[in-house]
Amino acid sequence: MFTLVGKWTEHWMSQVGGATQMVQSVLYWLAHARFEFKQFVQQSVVIGVESFAVTAMTSLFTGMVLALQGGNTIGNIFGDPIYVGTLVTFSLIRELGPVLTAVVIAGRAGAAVTAHIGTMAVTEQLDALHTLGTNPTRYLVIPRMAAFLLTVPILTVFSNVFGVFGGYLVAVYALDVPGEVYMTDVTAFMGVSDFMHGFLKSFIFGFLVATVCCYKGISTRGGAEGVGKSTTGAVVTCIVMILVLDYFLTAILTAFKI
């Protein structure tokens, strides 16, 4: 039992150490080499386009189910489904929008990034980058990291919009809440700090997904089986870490009144 815990701890520490070294290398090459702008644009388009439909769909139905559950519960307690718009919007903007978007992007684009870099690792293409005057950090990791940092917050904003729209559909057509009332509830109690709360989370989740997925890709060993293991490992690690980090971020940001 103790041996297992020891091995698990050792594995995690080495993973965290490796990822930290990669981030250090990212900072070094950001300062010492030209930014691969073309790669960044390509990756932003790929990550953004690939993940847009699935994040929109997820958020639309999350907004709908929030409105349905929230509206019915409030209706049972107070007699009328009041403040459905407020409930949906707060839940989405502060919590579910950033969390669900990051989880979906990790599963869709993050997995693709790990599989791509992992395949390059096991076929010596990463070594080939070193021999041709560049390196994996500069050519692969930095553009992908920048692309995640850009696209995760943008997709989160779209995700929030789709979620609020989903809530609107249920509130208006299933719960008989007037459209104007729903929209007034959406904006009535919303402050800049609520947007900042969600935005900061999405930015940090973007960094987390990029770091985990790129590191898992670069550290892939052992042929096709290794690529499969890394990809699964990257997605599972991202999902667990997003949910754990979300709690601590909420606690910290709330303490700072954000």
Binding site: H32, H116, T119, E124, Q125, H130, G133, T134, N135
Partner: protein, 253 residues
Amino acid sequence: MIEIKHLKKTFGEREVLRDVNLTIPDGKVTTILGGSGTGKSTLIKCMMRLQNATSGQILVNGRDITKINDPIRLAVIRRHFGYLFQEGALFDSMTVGENVAFGLEYLTAIPKEDYPKIVKEKLAMVGLQPEVADLNPSELSGGMRKRVSLARVLAVSPKCILYDEPTTGLDPIMSDIISDLILEMKHKIGVTSVVITHDMRSAFKISDYIAFLYEGRIMLHGTPDEFRKTDNPYVRQFVDGSSHGPIQMKLRD
């Protein structure tokens, strides 16, 4: 000239290179022979600093490259070398032409307009038609992949090319074509070549010098003629490709 002195490389407890001493003269082909898993690829990866030696020295024109840790200075040192990977290591997401031109952007100051001309030139050097430039690596045969990979190396004009098993997995005719290409590079552009191979026919054809790596040390270093005439039982067994001899006896112990 490249001098390897007392080079040692370990992976955890496993000692792959114990005490390698080897001199590689400029403009010549030096072949490193040895059985599978004897550390031949590890040796040339240490020379390229794709792997770090545990101890010892690799002197390139008198300068010890094992002591360089600054990533930018390391990149400068790597410019000295070209590396032909065993499976080619072509970038799957790019066309053949983009693969061949890849190093030009990072290792030379050549304007981008000249890339197509250079790609055509280098593909011709390795006996490939210009139309190949538009193909994807997945559309190439094993021999073509190796030739494209060689064209990618040649595009950046390295002083020394490290070939990792260039004829492995190829039919005898294609192996001979690749051997001819290695010789052609030596004669045409005077490049220093370090070749790792199991292919004795190719080794005798291309080499100016041969080194036999066994149990982490260079057991014999000499000309192809010396290798043909040697009575060292280990080398004899390897050269003759015999299953009987001290190497197998050692494995059975």
